[in-house]
Point group: C2
Amino acid sequence: MPRTLPLLLAGLVTLASAQAADKPTRIPEAALTTAAELRERALADDTAWEFTEGLTTEVGERLAGGENDAKAREWVIAKFKALGFDKVWSEPVTFPKWVRRGEHAQMTAPFAQKLAVLALGHSPGTPAGGITAEVVAFDSLDALKAANADAVRGRIVYVGPRMHARKDGGDYGMGSNVRTKGPSLASQKGAAAFLLRSAGTDNNRLPHTGVTTFENGVTPIPAAALSSPDADLIERVLKRGKPVTIMLALDCGIEGNYTGANVIAELRGRSKPNEYFIMGGHLDSWDPGTGAIDDAAGIAIGVGAAHLIAQLPQRPQRSIRVVAFANEEAGLYGGKAYGAAHAKDIKSAVLGSESDGGADRIWKITASVKPSARDAIAQIAEAIKPLGVEYDATAPGHAGSDLSAVHAVGMAGLSLHQDMTRYFDWHHTANDTLDKIDPEQLRQNVAVYAVVAYLAAQAEGDFGSKPGAFAEDGHE
Amino acid sequence: MPRTLPLLLAGLVTLASAQAADKPTRIPEAALTTAAELRERALADDTAWEFTEGLTTEVGERLAGGENDAKAREWVIAKFKALGFDKVWSEPVTFPKWVRRGEHAQMTAPFAQKLAVLALGHSPGTPAGGITAEVVAFDSLDALKAANADAVRGRIVYVGPRMHARKDGGDYGMGSNVRTKGPSLASQKGAAAFLLRSAGTDNNRLPHTGVTTFENGVTPIPAAALSSPDADLIERVLKRGKPVTIMLALDCGIEGNYTGANVIAELRGRSKPNEYFIMGGHLDSWDPGTGAIDDAAGIAIGVGAAHLIAQLPQRPQRSIRVVAFANEEAGLYGGKAYGAAHAKDIKSAVLGSESDGGADRIWKITASVKPSARDAIAQIAEAIKPLGVEYDATAPGHAGSDLSAVHAVGMAGLSLHQDMTRYFDWHHTANDTLDKIDPEQLRQNVAVYAVVAYLAAQAEGDFGSKPGAFAEDGHE
């Protein structure tokens, strides 16, 4: 009941808006009946599980631009074709190729101890013998920002805030900020290298990698993540008040450009084939794990949903696309390429939602659509309510990682929020393996996506996709 | 109440036994009053936590015979002295020195994937380029035993049963059996190398190391543990029915002998200084972690308990010893050396209990004592009941890892069973770090040991220690 008032206000805003004259988008009754059937069938279908099992078993890690990049695309193309999509194609994506050859680190003073580290994506390497320097520690990015360069110059900067597990994954904003912005900031103050407490919620001795970025004109410095127990160790030693020295050796770096591809599969719509609902995930993963939750599951959920729809007696009115995006991890390259390639025709992408939050149950739907499509979203939300999904009509729907870049060029977006309580225990670590996925939870995701994709494809009226739409959304 | 009948039967056995004429051992009332005070003080004392924090922070991993072996002994000797024990000394322990320089493995066919492995203690190394061979898999040690040598010869044997988490750690018997006996068995059938699913209950990408043994006359073969997710991967690929090939490269082996030491601290008894209660843990650890739960905590619990007793207005009647045993991990070398050195005078060791099950709450006490000391054990059990410890009068008490070797030469033993539900998630992995210990649980352990040690030292009468006693116990 706490949502009654906002819903009422949202209604008033709709009535008052310039677009109130739009004919409201609506989902036909027959579509809702079919969607209910799809929902039940999804809960007994293991296409998504088999896809995830196959990709993690037969390909494994899929570092963007690495030796498994092409192998993974070939695997996915073959799988898309085997599953009977009407059309399968690739669209090129070019990005800097970052290579990891290895890393190691140790505390050398006042006590000698090995440290579990992983270089961050886009980090340069150290000289072969590593960098040995005294540590200067900060408990937040703001504390580093406020630091005097004299305290930082020539040192290894360590930033150590701790993420806490939350259903909405909320702490990752802070954690990933330290990772993406910390090294650039440290470099500007003359630091020799950068270490962070892994952006994760676990206490395993497995660091969380992830990309970092260096602003234009800033000298890239070696940057790596410590596992949480190793970060604890550094902090305990620092509390003793003695200088702490660390040796950090990273063998990694950017080696020119690489051209990979977004791989796209389509079920061809019956009456409006050029309009489509778009879902999927990213095909690349970080290299320590096998990219099961991040993000084989995301593509698998789209595949599972589309495969169920493909088994209906006839194709839906609109087309349905499943995309395996290239190189999300190092900066949404696949999503940005898709956005750039399809920006002029973004109206065709009637609605989209990428899955990139693991495979735990979807618990919430939010949407960024035109006001006159709000009722249709409420109809969709009602159809997935039996799956335990609540509708928050007050928050935007950025459409998920890569598709947020497509949303940014005007595609209407849904966010289907997965329970992320445990996601950041495993995210970007060697622990991202198939065993972290519960087949039952995965089926719930497929059920949600099958319903949503089908209803979007059958909707009478659109959701507001057009160039420049949703600019007020505050894109991630 | 389910224990009424066994207790009654135990009473009858006592009456009927040859030792029934013994004057029953009993705990004086005054001692029970002091013990209750110790119990409460222990719940507010962090000596054990500080010991564990210090050893894991300032020394870290303590592979027996490795470079931290001597460093750890120096650290412990200094700490024992600083804590005001009356006497601190070392007794030499000699054992084969096993060295780990590194390891790596990958599945090479039908799919190329890296595998997370750790060499087992006492494993020989492989040739520098590793061993590449086809895998033959068994789901139990019995299945391997039953196998025809033709199916095994020249192959890499994989044995893959899964341990399940249990409060009593019960599955470790099976898991450690695969690890200790599997390689020898595989070698006898001509295997090239041996892999097991880690003897652990977690699904982290961190293998569990641990010692293996080769029977006399059996050629040692390289042996390593796969993390559970990697074992899953191998099993998934095997299910596809294609030959699986693995490359295993281990750089490790035994390099002569090393002489370390058991480090012993004593509170000198007031009236019977030559009789003592003995507790403690082992100072060595496996090298991937820092040996927090296995077994810095064990020594720390003894230290914390003894330190509280040392603060009483006067020393107890008997002495109290805390031992930091050498090289438990590779075969109870410290315990066996202690047993050999003190066998003739084992009567002096009136009762003993080593802590080597982590630092979660003690939930059960069992004892192997002479029948006329059963009532005194019941009094001790009553004194620790407020800490949530139940008394199982029907099961023996082997006194814990190293002290089981002392129990084997005739020392009366107690087992103070820790809750091991999570212990085998971390045991023998890089995850054995300080953060896995809950200070409150650790204090409960100290409270139990403080009460038990004090009451044993104050008991009127002994517990049956003498050469050859408890031979019927079925020593572990």
